[in-house]
């Protein structure tokens, strides 16, 4: 075989390989996009329905896309259904859950990350076990207990239940953030005469800020999406978050699907964006550090 022949052969094989890899990458992209579409299909349908005028909703058979795009539905939703009220309730519950959750979880997580004490192992175990419990399985107990406290159908009841069931994730993820701060920094402050609490407030807290933000967002989302407790406890519309309010609307004789979905999209899109922003930390927090 002459050198030119060899070179020629090399060339064609390289060409072949690059063609192969191009086919491979195009087919990967195609697969990826098809799979992605399967996941967002229900939400795309929601958008298409939300943009339809009332007359199109009851078309038989239905159209794939709106004939006229009614972007105004996203504003009219506040008049057509009590969406503003549902959103107010959701915001009150989620913001309060987030704030109380952080106030309770941060000191606990910090102490657990930095100290060795006899209650430490039992406390960590308790937190882990709580993480696996969902209020769904304990609904009767929760309902009866809250009736004793007169907290059925109140914001406070929903907030306290939400905070308690989300503490596990918060404590877990926060203490891993505190642990990642080098002890030497705190010791230096300590030696400089700062008190224990000052060290915590001036040094550790600012350094753990990304962890605190992540935890706050997670708690906020969990409370925002919570359904079963609110469905059971919030009997009056004045207290219902959107998850309960909107789900009850589907039981009515005439369902305004376009407005129902316009509201739904307003309620889920900001949450999806927030969720993506903390995605990096989610797996670690939810698996209690057993994966990453």
């Amino acid at each position: 075989m002459t050198i030119t022949q060899i070179n020629k052969k090399r060339k064609t094989s390289r060409k072949k390989r690059s063609k192969n890899s191009r086919i491979k990458s195009v087919s990967l992209s195609l697969t990826g996009i098809i799979v992605a579409f399967l996941f967002i299909f229900p939400y795309v349908t929601m958008l298409s329905t939300a943009l339809k005028p009332k007359s199109d909703i009851t078309d038989m058979p239905p159209t794939y896309f709106p004939k006229i795009y009614e972007w105004g539905n996203f504003i009219k939703v506040f008049q057509e259904i009590p969406f503003g009220m549902y959103m107010r309730n959701t915001l009150v519950i989620s913001i309060a859950t987030m704030i109380i959750g952080i106030i309770v979880a941060v000191p606990a997580a910090y102490y657990v990350a930095r100290n060795n004490f006899r209650l430490r192992t039992p406390f960590l175990l308790l937190v882990l076990i709580t993480q696996m419990f969902s209020p769904t399985s304990l609904l009767i107990g929760i309902y009866r207990e809250l009736s004793i406290f007169n907290l059925v159908n109140t914001y406070q009841g929903l907030i306290l239940v939400n905070v308690s069931f989300n503490l596990a994730f918060s404590v877990w993820i926060l203490s891993s953030f505190f642990k990642s701060i080098p002890v030497e920094i705190e010791e230096a402050a300590f030696i400089d005469g700062a008190s224990r609490f000052q060290t915590f407030r001036k040094i550790s807290l600012p350094l753990a800020a990304p962890g605190i933000v992540t935890t706050a967002i997670f708690t906020f989302i969990a409370a925002w999406n919570e359904y079963v407790v609110a469905y059971t406890l919030a009997s009056s519309p004045e207290k219902q978050p959107f998850s309960v309010g909107l789900s009850l609307l589907t039981g009515l004789y005439e369902v305004k699907w376009n407005f129902l979905f316009a509201g739904s999209l307003i309620a889920i899109i900001p949450i999806i964006i927030l969720f993506i922003s903390i995605e990096k930390y989610l797996v670690g927090g939810l698996t209690a550090g057993s994966v990453k």
């Binding site: 990458s25 992209s29 697969t31 990826g32 996009i33 799979v35 992605a36 399967l38 996941f39 967002i40 229900p42 909703i57 078309d59 239905p62 794939y64 979880a105 657990v112 990350a113 100290n115 060795n116 004490f117 209650l119 406390f123 308790l126 937190v127 882990l128 696996m132 419990f133 969902s134 769904t136 399985s137 304990l138 609904l139 107990g141 929760i142 207990e145 009736s147 308690s164 069931f165 891993s176 642990k179 010791e187 999406n225 359904y227 079963v228 959107f242 909107l246 789900s247 309620a267 889920i268 969720f275 993506i276 995605e279 797996v283 670690g284 698996t287 550090g289 057993s290 994966v291 990453k292």
Partner: protein, 298 residues
């Protein structure tokens, strides 16, 4: 961690720091557990007042409930089918999410959507999509000439549970495949490449090298997913309310119906106690698999 600055303190000194968290967990997580057990042995009036001890009457009533056996069977199917298929599908999905291609970010974000969005809303959307008259699935089926007439997949007991299983899988996949993706990303690139260079086929290399390294993540994802699936309420409740009749109930929705619709708190509590023990088994598995001791030992 040095022990110079922070000595092993007494538990008493820890209370200002962990006390509030402890208190909330005791009051709102553990107390309901105790209350649940107590109620299951009580005779409760329809209005919720305790009339007295019931012994094991509530448990007997539950066992005599003619809808129990079907519900238990369906719960087992629900758990096994959803978890098995979710895990089986999330392996290739995680692989795809980890591959290098144009549009990968779009795929990753799309997979997150059902995880981030309210389950109630997702379920409502599926209910609308499957509406026999106005739903888009009817349109697709007619356009593809699979059927001439509108089909009521959710109203027909032969198909409704299958539809619920499918939706259950699509909303479970994001969590499990993200856990597996994290597992894949933790595998050093050299090992992944070595598995291909050695001349082994991609398929062989995957099962010989990648999967064994992925096994811990796989098991943790499976156990946590099992608890989620077992406790799952909104999907079934929004789409069928466990109906027609009790045809699509699992123990979770069944317990809800018995307590809050049939007003039989005692009987429902006895079922919930059963559910509690099932969850406890998963917790034990989780504790065994998780590396909580690492955080414990520091």
């Amino acid at each position: 961690m040095s022990t110079k600055t922070f000595k092993k303190g007494s538990s008493f000194r820890s209370l200002p720091w962990i006390g509030p968290a402890l208190l909330l967990i005791f009051i709102f997580v553990l107390w309901p557990v105790v209350e649940l057990f107590l109620v299951s042995f009580r005779e409760i009036s329809v209005s919720g007042l305790i009339k007295g001890w019931a012994g094991t009457e509530n448990y007997k009533a539950l066992l005599d409930n003619s809808d129990l056996s079907g519900t238990l069977r369906r719960t087992a199917i629900w758990l096994v089918v959803v978890v098995t298929l979710t895990m089986a599908l999330s392996l290739p999905l995680a692989q795809l999410m980890n591959a290098n291609f144009r549009g990968r970010r779009f795929l990753r974000y799309s997979v997150i959507v059902p995880w981030a969005a309210s389950l109630v809303i997702t379920a409502t959307s599926w209910k609308w999509i499957l509406d026999p008259y106005f739903g888009i699935v009817t349109r697709i089926i007619v356009d593809l000439r699979i059927a001439e007439e509108p089909v009521d997949l959710l109203g027909d007991p032969r198909t409704s549970f299958i539809v619920l299983l499918a939706v259950g899988i699509t909303v479970s996949l994001p969590f499990t495949s993200y856990v597996l993706l994290a597992g894949l990303q933790a595998i050093p690139k050299e090992i992944m490449e070595a598995s291909l260079v050695d001349g082994a086929s991609a398929w062989k290399g995957y099962w010989a090298i990648t999967f064994p390294l992925l096994r811990p993540a796989f098991l943790v994802a499976a156990v946590i997913n099992s608890v989620y699936v077992f406790n799952s309420f909104p999907i079934i409740w929004v789409m069928t309310k466990g109906g027609p009749a009790y045809e699509t109930d699992t123990t979770t929705t069944f317990a809800y119906k018995v307590a809050f619709r049939d007003q039989d708190i005692g009987q429902s509590a006895s079922l919930a106690v059963g559910n509690f023990f099932v969850i406890l088994i998963f917790i034990m598995l989780f504790l065994k698999l998780s590396k909580w001791k690492e955080l414990d030992q520091r």
